[in-house]
Symmetry: C2
Subunit: 213 residues, 2 copies
Amino acid sequence: MSERTTLKRLPERGDHSRETIHSILDEALICHIGFVHDGYPVVIPTIHARHGDTLYVHGSPASRMLRDLKDGVQVCVTATIVDGIVAARSLFHHSMNYRSVVVFAEARLVTEPEERLAAFRAVTEHILPGRWDEARHPDRNEDKGTLLLALPIDEASAKIRSGPPEDEEEDYALDIWAGVIPLELVAGEPVPDPVLTPGIEAPEYIRDYEGGR
Amino acid sequence: MSERTTLKRLPERGDHSRETIHSILDEALICHIGFVHDGYPVVIPTIHARHGDTLYVHGSPASRMLRDLKDGVQVCVTATIVDGIVAARSLFHHSMNYRSVVVFAEARLVTEPEERLAAFRAVTEHILPGRWDEARHPDRNEDKGTLLLALPIDEASAKIRSGPPEDEEEDYALDIWAGVIPLELVAGEPVPDPVLTPGIEAPEYIRDYEGGR
Protein backbone atom coordinates (compact mmCIF):
# COMPACT_ATOMS: atom_id res chain seq x y z
CA MET A 1 0.00 0.00 0.00
CA SER A 2 1.47 3.32 -1.00
CA GLU A 3 1.85 6.26 1.32
CA ARG A 4 -0.74 8.29 -0.55
CA THR A 5 -3.56 5.82 -0.04
CA THR A 6 -2.80 5.14 3.61
CA LEU A 7 -5.67 6.76 5.44
CA LYS A 8 -4.35 9.16 8.02
CA ARG A 9 -7.50 9.87 9.92
CA LEU A 10 -10.40 7.71 11.06
CA PRO A 11 -8.70 4.55 9.81
CA GLU A 12 -11.76 2.54 10.85
CA ARG A 13 -13.53 4.10 7.87
CA GLY A 14 -10.90 2.90 5.44
CA ASP A 15 -11.36 -0.27 3.48
CA HIS A 16 -8.85 -1.41 0.94
CA SER A 17 -10.44 -4.62 -0.29
CA ARG A 18 -10.53 -4.83 -4.04
CA GLU A 19 -14.12 -6.06 -4.01
CA THR A 20 -15.30 -3.01 -2.07
CA ILE A 21 -13.39 -0.63 -4.30
CA HIS A 22 -14.82 -2.24 -7.43
CA SER A 23 -18.40 -2.24 -6.17
CA ILE A 24 -18.28 1.47 -5.33
CA LEU A 25 -16.78 2.36 -8.72
CA ASP A 26 -19.46 0.24 -10.40
CA GLU A 27 -22.37 1.80 -8.54
CA ALA A 28 -21.26 5.44 -8.83
CA LEU A 29 -22.63 6.89 -12.08
CA ILE A 30 -20.03 9.63 -12.29
CA CYS A 31 -16.66 10.39 -10.81
CA HIS A 32 -14.59 13.52 -10.30
CA ILE A 33 -11.19 13.54 -11.95
CA GLY A 34 -8.51 15.85 -10.61
CA PHE A 35 -5.27 16.85 -12.29
CA VAL A 36 -2.74 19.65 -12.18
CA HIS A 37 -2.99 22.22 -14.99
CA ASP A 38 -0.38 25.00 -15.12
CA GLY A 39 0.32 24.29 -11.46
CA TYR A 40 -3.34 24.60 -10.44
CA PRO A 41 -5.67 21.80 -9.35
CA VAL A 42 -8.63 21.19 -11.68
CA VAL A 43 -11.55 18.90 -10.78
CA ILE A 44 -14.04 17.85 -13.47
CA PRO A 45 -17.06 15.54 -13.26
CA THR A 46 -17.01 12.79 -15.84
CA ILE A 47 -18.44 9.39 -16.75
CA HIS A 48 -16.31 6.35 -16.04
CA ALA A 49 -16.44 2.58 -16.17
CA ARG A 50 -14.45 -0.19 -14.58
CA HIS A 51 -13.35 -3.13 -16.68
CA GLY A 52 -11.40 -5.62 -14.62
CA ASP A 53 -8.68 -3.69 -12.82
CA THR A 54 -8.80 -0.77 -15.23
CA LEU A 55 -10.82 2.42 -14.95
CA TYR A 56 -11.84 4.10 -18.20
CA VAL A 57 -12.89 7.70 -18.70
CA HIS A 58 -13.78 9.17 -22.06
CA GLY A 59 -14.64 12.43 -23.77
CA SER A 60 -14.01 14.72 -26.68
CA PRO A 61 -10.43 15.39 -27.82
CA ALA A 62 -11.41 19.07 -27.74
CA SER A 63 -11.84 18.95 -23.98
CA ARG A 64 -9.08 20.74 -22.12
CA MET A 65 -9.16 18.06 -19.48
CA LEU A 66 -8.52 15.20 -21.82
CA ARG A 67 -5.96 17.09 -23.86
CA ASP A 68 -3.99 17.48 -20.66
CA LEU A 69 -4.47 13.94 -19.51
CA LYS A 70 -3.37 12.12 -22.60
CA ASP A 71 0.17 13.24 -21.94
CA GLY A 72 0.38 10.70 -19.13
CA VAL A 73 -0.03 13.10 -16.25
CA GLN A 74 -0.96 12.00 -12.77
CA VAL A 75 -4.65 12.04 -11.96
CA CYS A 76 -6.80 11.42 -8.92
CA VAL A 77 -10.22 9.96 -9.61
CA THR A 78 -12.76 10.05 -6.78
CA ALA A 79 -16.20 8.44 -6.90
CA THR A 80 -18.64 9.11 -4.08
CA ILE A 81 -22.06 7.67 -3.30
CA VAL A 82 -24.10 9.56 -0.72
CA ASP A 83 -26.17 7.17 1.43
CA GLY A 84 -27.67 9.40 4.08
CA ILE A 85 -27.54 12.29 6.50
CA VAL A 86 -26.45 11.39 10.02
CA ALA A 87 -28.25 13.58 12.55
CA ALA A 88 -26.47 13.35 15.90
CA ARG A 89 -27.57 15.04 19.13
CA SER A 90 -24.59 17.40 18.91
CA LEU A 91 -23.80 19.40 15.78
CA PHE A 92 -20.18 18.28 16.10
CA HIS A 93 -21.10 14.63 15.43
CA HIS A 94 -23.31 15.30 12.44
CA SER A 95 -22.04 13.44 9.41
CA MET A 96 -22.96 11.82 6.13
CA ASN A 97 -23.21 8.12 5.40
CA TYR A 98 -21.29 7.60 2.19
CA ARG A 99 -19.05 5.29 0.24
CA SER A 100 -16.13 6.73 -1.71
CA VAL A 101 -13.13 5.51 -3.64
CA VAL A 102 -9.99 7.45 -4.45
CA VAL A 103 -7.75 6.19 -7.27
CA PHE A 104 -4.31 7.66 -7.93
CA ALA A 105 -2.97 6.84 -11.38
CA GLU A 106 -1.20 7.96 -14.48
CA ALA A 107 -3.57 8.32 -17.43
CA ARG A 108 -2.82 6.18 -20.47
CA LEU A 109 -4.32 7.00 -23.87
CA VAL A 110 -6.22 4.03 -25.30
CA THR A 111 -5.52 3.58 -29.01
CA GLU A 112 -5.67 -0.16 -29.67
CA PRO A 113 -9.01 -0.91 -31.47
CA GLU A 114 -9.89 -3.97 -29.41
CA GLU A 115 -9.34 -2.20 -26.08
CA ARG A 116 -11.24 0.84 -27.34
CA LEU A 117 -14.23 -1.33 -28.22
CA ALA A 118 -14.15 -3.06 -24.83
CA ALA A 119 -13.91 0.30 -23.08
CA PHE A 120 -16.79 1.84 -25.05
CA ARG A 121 -18.86 -1.16 -24.14
CA ALA A 122 -17.88 -0.94 -20.46
CA VAL A 123 -18.78 2.75 -20.28
CA THR A 124 -22.12 2.19 -22.03
CA GLU A 125 -23.09 -0.82 -19.94
CA HIS A 126 -22.00 0.95 -16.75
CA ILE A 127 -24.36 3.86 -17.31
CA LEU A 128 -27.19 2.01 -19.02
CA PRO A 129 -26.99 -1.80 -18.97
CA GLY A 130 -28.60 -3.24 -22.09
CA ARG A 131 -27.95 -0.22 -24.27
CA TRP A 132 -24.86 -1.60 -26.05
CA ASP A 133 -26.91 -4.14 -27.96
CA GLU A 134 -29.50 -1.65 -29.11
CA ALA A 135 -27.99 1.76 -29.91
CA ARG A 136 -26.05 2.53 -33.09
CA HIS A 137 -22.32 1.90 -32.55
CA PRO A 138 -19.70 4.56 -33.27
CA ASP A 139 -18.65 4.98 -36.90
CA ARG A 140 -15.05 5.75 -37.84
CA ASN A 141 -15.40 9.51 -37.31
CA GLU A 142 -17.13 9.12 -33.97
CA ASP A 143 -14.49 6.65 -32.86
CA LYS A 144 -11.77 9.17 -33.83
CA GLY A 145 -13.74 11.84 -32.02
CA THR A 146 -13.64 10.04 -28.70
CA LEU A 147 -10.61 10.35 -26.49
CA LEU A 148 -10.35 7.37 -24.22
CA LEU A 149 -8.15 7.12 -21.14
CA ALA A 150 -7.24 4.10 -19.05
CA LEU A 151 -6.16 4.22 -15.42
CA PRO A 152 -4.91 1.17 -13.53
CA ILE A 153 -6.85 0.62 -10.28
CA ASP A 154 -3.71 -0.20 -8.29
CA GLU A 155 -3.24 2.64 -5.92
CA ALA A 156 -6.77 2.98 -4.61
CA SER A 157 -8.63 3.15 -1.32
CA ALA A 158 -12.23 3.10 -0.19
CA LYS A 159 -13.77 5.04 2.66
CA ILE A 160 -17.17 4.18 4.08
CA ARG A 161 -19.36 5.59 6.82
CA SER A 162 -22.57 3.77 7.65
CA GLY A 163 -24.92 3.26 10.56
CA PRO A 164 -26.37 5.47 13.28
CA PRO A 165 -24.82 8.61 14.79
CA GLU A 166 -22.19 8.32 17.50
CA ASP A 167 -22.69 10.90 20.19
CA GLU A 168 -20.77 11.89 23.29
CA GLU A 169 -21.79 9.73 26.24
CA GLU A 170 -23.45 12.58 28.13
CA ASP A 171 -25.47 13.68 25.09
CA TYR A 172 -27.51 10.48 24.85
CA ALA A 173 -29.71 11.82 27.65
CA LEU A 174 -30.65 14.93 25.64
CA ASP A 175 -34.21 15.26 24.45
CA ILE A 176 -33.21 15.46 20.77
CA TRP A 177 -34.18 13.14 17.92
CA ALA A 178 -31.15 11.40 16.40
CA GLY A 179 -30.84 9.02 13.51
CA VAL A 180 -30.25 8.78 9.80
CA ILE A 181 -32.16 10.12 6.81
CA PRO A 182 -31.36 7.62 4.02
CA LEU A 183 -30.66 9.08 0.59
CA GLU A 184 -30.76 7.28 -2.72
CA LEU A 185 -30.42 8.25 -6.37
CA VAL A 186 -33.76 7.13 -7.80
CA ALA A 187 -34.80 6.87 -11.43
CA GLY A 188 -38.08 8.46 -12.46
CA GLU A 189 -40.43 7.61 -15.31
CA PRO A 190 -38.50 7.64 -18.62
CA VAL A 191 -39.21 10.75 -20.74
CA PRO A 192 -39.34 9.89 -24.47
CA ASP A 193 -37.61 12.21 -26.92
CA PRO A 194 -40.36 14.61 -28.09
CA VAL A 195 -39.53 13.66 -31.68
CA LEU A 196 -39.45 9.90 -31.03
CA THR A 197 -41.00 7.92 -33.86
CA PRO A 198 -44.55 7.07 -32.69
CA GLY A 199 -45.01 3.46 -31.67
CA ILE A 200 -41.52 2.85 -30.28
CA GLU A 201 -41.93 1.63 -26.71
CA ALA A 202 -39.24 2.02 -24.02
CA PRO A 203 -37.41 -1.32 -23.68
CA GLU A 204 -37.35 -3.15 -20.36
CA TYR A 205 -33.82 -2.03 -19.42
CA ILE A 206 -35.05 1.59 -19.69
CA ARG A 207 -38.38 1.05 -17.88
CA ASP A 208 -36.79 -0.90 -15.03
CA TYR A 209 -33.62 1.17 -14.76
CA GLU A 210 -32.03 0.95 -11.33
CA GLY A 211 -28.68 2.67 -11.75
CA GLY A 212 -25.48 0.98 -10.72
CA ARG A 213 -27.32 -1.21 -8.18
CA MET B 1 -13.78 36.29 -16.21
CA SER B 2 -10.49 34.55 -15.77
CA GLU B 3 -8.88 32.29 -18.32
CA ARG B 4 -9.39 29.22 -16.13
CA THR B 5 -13.14 29.51 -15.95
CA THR B 6 -13.64 30.29 -19.62
CA LEU B 7 -15.28 27.18 -20.99
CA LYS B 8 -13.32 25.89 -23.90
CA ARG B 9 -15.72 23.30 -25.20
CA LEU B 10 -19.48 23.23 -25.66
CA PRO B 11 -19.79 26.87 -24.60
CA GLU B 12 -23.59 26.61 -24.89
CA ARG B 13 -23.46 24.50 -21.75
CA GLY B 14 -21.61 27.19 -19.80
CA ASP B 15 -23.52 29.57 -17.58
CA HIS B 16 -21.74 32.12 -15.48
CA SER B 17 -24.66 33.83 -13.80
CA ARG B 18 -24.14 34.18 -10.09
CA GLU B 19 -27.70 33.04 -9.37
CA THR B 20 -27.19 29.76 -11.24
CA ILE B 21 -23.84 29.11 -9.57
CA HIS B 22 -25.33 29.75 -6.13
CA SER B 23 -28.37 27.54 -6.71
CA ILE B 24 -26.23 24.58 -7.78
CA LEU B 25 -23.89 24.98 -4.79
CA ASP B 26 -26.93 25.19 -2.51
CA GLU B 27 -28.64 22.08 -3.89
CA ALA B 28 -25.56 19.84 -4.04
CA LEU B 29 -25.15 18.09 -0.68
CA ILE B 30 -21.45 17.44 -1.13
CA CYS B 31 -18.64 18.75 -3.27
CA HIS B 32 -15.27 17.42 -4.37
CA ILE B 33 -12.28 19.52 -3.40
CA GLY B 34 -9.06 19.19 -5.35
CA PHE B 35 -5.60 20.39 -4.36
CA VAL B 36 -1.99 19.64 -5.10
CA HIS B 37 -0.14 17.60 -2.47
CA ASP B 38 3.57 16.94 -3.00
CA GLY B 39 3.02 17.68 -6.68
CA TYR B 40 0.15 15.21 -7.02
CA PRO B 41 -3.54 16.00 -7.48
CA VAL B 42 -5.80 14.89 -4.61
CA VAL B 43 -9.61 14.94 -4.80
CA ILE B 44 -11.67 14.47 -1.63
CA PRO B 45 -15.43 14.52 -1.12
CA THR B 46 -16.54 16.93 1.57
CA ILE B 47 -19.51 18.86 2.94
CA HIS B 48 -19.78 22.51 2.05
CA ALA B 49 -22.09 25.46 2.43
CA ARG B 50 -22.47 28.76 0.69
CA HIS B 51 -22.95 31.92 2.74
CA GLY B 52 -23.30 34.94 0.50
CA ASP B 53 -20.36 34.89 -1.91
CA THR B 54 -18.27 32.62 0.30
CA LEU B 55 -18.02 28.84 0.20
CA TYR B 56 -17.22 27.09 3.49
CA VAL B 57 -15.80 23.61 3.94
CA HIS B 58 -14.96 22.12 7.31
CA GLY B 59 -13.39 19.10 8.94
CA SER B 60 -10.99 17.84 11.55
CA PRO B 61 -7.58 19.51 11.98
CA ALA B 62 -6.17 15.97 11.84
CA SER B 63 -7.29 15.59 8.23
CA ARG B 64 -4.43 15.65 5.79
CA MET B 65 -6.59 17.57 3.38
CA LEU B 66 -7.36 20.40 5.74
CA ARG B 67 -3.82 20.52 7.13
CA ASP B 68 -2.67 21.19 3.59
CA LEU B 69 -5.35 23.67 2.76
CA LYS B 70 -4.99 25.97 5.71
CA ASP B 71 -1.67 27.15 4.31
CA GLY B 72 -3.55 29.13 1.67
CA VAL B 73 -2.99 26.75 -1.22
CA GLN B 74 -5.03 26.87 -4.40
CA VAL B 75 -8.05 24.59 -4.50
CA CYS B 76 -10.65 23.64 -7.05
CA VAL B 77 -14.09 22.82 -5.64
CA THR B 78 -16.55 21.07 -7.94
CA ALA B 79 -20.18 20.34 -7.06
CA THR B 80 -22.22 18.18 -9.42
CA ILE B 81 -25.91 17.25 -9.45
CA VAL B 82 -26.87 14.36 -11.71
CA ASP B 83 -30.31 14.92 -13.29
CA GLY B 84 -30.64 12.07 -15.73
CA ILE B 85 -29.30 9.66 -18.31
CA VAL B 86 -29.63 10.80 -21.91
CA ALA B 87 -30.21 7.82 -24.18
CA ALA B 88 -29.59 8.84 -27.78
CA ARG B 89 -30.06 6.64 -30.83
CA SER B 90 -26.29 6.51 -31.34
CA LEU B 91 -23.88 5.58 -28.54
CA PHE B 92 -21.77 8.61 -29.46
CA HIS B 93 -24.53 11.04 -28.41
CA HIS B 94 -25.31 9.39 -25.10
CA SER B 95 -24.85 11.81 -22.26
CA MET B 96 -25.92 12.78 -18.76
CA ASN B 97 -28.17 15.65 -17.78
CA TYR B 98 -26.38 17.42 -14.97
CA ARG B 99 -25.62 20.73 -13.33
CA SER B 100 -22.12 21.41 -12.07
CA VAL B 101 -20.13 24.29 -10.65
CA VAL B 102 -16.36 24.66 -10.58
CA VAL B 103 -14.82 27.17 -8.16
CA PHE B 104 -11.12 28.07 -8.24
CA ALA B 105 -9.92 29.76 -5.06
CA GLU B 106 -7.28 30.11 -2.41
CA ALA B 107 -8.39 28.59 0.88
CA ARG B 108 -8.49 30.93 3.87
CA LEU B 109 -8.53 29.60 7.44
CA VAL B 110 -11.52 30.95 9.37
CA THR B 111 -10.52 31.97 12.92
CA GLU B 112 -12.76 34.91 13.83
CA PRO B 113 -15.47 33.64 16.26
CA GLU B 114 -18.37 35.45 14.60
CA GLU B 115 -17.50 34.15 11.14
CA ARG B 116 -16.95 30.66 12.52
CA LEU B 117 -20.41 30.68 14.08
CA ALA B 118 -22.01 31.90 10.86
CA ALA B 119 -20.16 29.23 8.88
CA PHE B 120 -21.13 26.40 11.27
CA ARG B 121 -24.70 27.53 10.96
CA ALA B 122 -24.50 27.71 7.15
CA VAL B 123 -23.04 24.20 6.89
CA THR B 124 -25.65 22.77 9.27
CA GLU B 125 -28.58 24.48 7.60
CA HIS B 126 -27.30 23.51 4.15
CA ILE B 127 -27.31 19.81 4.98
CA LEU B 128 -30.30 19.72 7.31
CA PRO B 129 -32.41 22.89 7.47
CA GLY B 130 -33.94 23.29 10.91
CA ARG B 131 -31.21 21.39 12.73
CA TRP B 132 -29.27 24.42 13.98
CA ASP B 133 -32.03 25.38 16.40
CA GLU B 134 -32.36 21.90 17.86
CA ALA B 135 -29.00 20.11 18.15
CA ARG B 136 -26.43 20.86 20.85
CA HIS B 137 -24.02 23.54 19.65
CA PRO B 138 -20.23 23.00 19.70
CA ASP B 139 -18.49 23.52 23.02
CA ARG B 140 -15.04 25.09 23.24
CA ASN B 141 -13.17 21.85 22.54
CA GLU B 142 -15.40 20.91 19.62
CA ASP B 143 -15.00 24.40 18.20
CA LYS B 144 -11.20 24.05 18.48
CA GLY B 145 -11.51 20.63 16.91
CA THR B 146 -13.09 21.92 13.74
CA LEU B 147 -10.97 23.34 11.00
CA LEU B 148 -12.96 25.76 8.89
CA LEU B 149 -11.95 27.05 5.48
CA ALA B 150 -13.44 29.89 3.45
CA LEU B 151 -13.20 30.20 -0.34
CA PRO B 152 -14.38 33.27 -2.23
CA ILE B 153 -16.85 32.36 -5.02
CA ASP B 154 -15.26 34.77 -7.51
CA GLU B 155 -13.64 32.60 -10.09
CA ALA B 156 -16.48 30.16 -10.75
CA SER B 157 -18.45 28.74 -13.62
CA ALA B 158 -21.51 26.56 -14.05
CA LYS B 159 -22.10 23.93 -16.69
CA ILE B 160 -25.54 22.50 -17.40
CA ARG B 161 -26.94 19.89 -19.76
CA SER B 162 -30.67 19.38 -19.85
CA GLY B 163 -33.36 18.19 -22.20
CA PRO B 164 -33.70 15.39 -24.76
CA PRO B 165 -30.90 13.69 -26.71
CA GLU B 166 -29.52 15.32 -29.85
CA ASP B 167 -28.88 12.78 -32.55
CA GLU B 168 -27.39 12.93 -36.01
CA GLU B 169 -30.02 13.88 -38.57
CA GLU B 170 -29.99 10.49 -40.29
CA ASP B 171 -30.34 8.58 -36.99
CA TYR B 172 -33.79 9.97 -36.18
CA ALA B 173 -35.26 7.40 -38.59
CA LEU B 174 -33.76 4.47 -36.62
CA ASP B 175 -36.13 2.16 -34.81
CA ILE B 176 -34.51 2.85 -31.40
CA TRP B 177 -36.13 4.31 -28.30
CA ALA B 178 -34.51 7.58 -27.28
CA GLY B 179 -35.14 9.87 -24.36
CA VAL B 180 -34.12 10.67 -20.81
CA ILE B 181 -34.25 8.64 -17.60
CA PRO B 182 -34.59 11.29 -14.88
CA LEU B 183 -32.51 10.76 -11.73
CA GLU B 184 -33.04 12.36 -8.36
CA LEU B 185 -31.52 12.01 -4.90
CA VAL B 186 -34.52 11.02 -2.81
CA ALA B 187 -34.81 10.84 0.98
CA GLY B 188 -36.25 7.67 2.49
CA GLU B 189 -38.06 7.13 5.78
CA PRO B 190 -35.89 8.45 8.67
CA VAL B 191 -34.21 5.68 10.68
CA PRO B 192 -34.11 6.51 14.41
CA ASP B 193 -30.91 5.83 16.35
CA PRO B 194 -31.42 2.34 17.87
CA VAL B 195 -30.65 3.83 21.28
CA LEU B 196 -32.94 6.84 20.85
CA THR B 197 -34.81 7.71 24.06
CA PRO B 198 -38.29 6.21 23.64
CA GLY B 199 -41.01 8.77 22.96
CA ILE B 200 -38.89 11.24 20.98
CA GLU B 201 -40.60 11.76 17.62
CA ALA B 202 -38.78 12.86 14.48
CA PRO B 203 -39.39 16.60 14.00
CA GLU B 204 -41.06 17.91 10.85
CA TYR B 205 -37.80 19.04 9.20
CA ILE B 206 -36.59 15.42 9.46
CA ARG B 207 -39.84 13.78 8.35
CA ASP B 208 -40.29 16.12 5.39
CA TYR B 209 -36.64 16.32 4.40
CA GLU B 210 -36.18 17.22 0.74
CA GLY B 211 -32.45 17.88 0.44
CA GLY B 212 -31.14 21.07 -1.08
CA ARG B 213 -34.35 21.56 -3.05
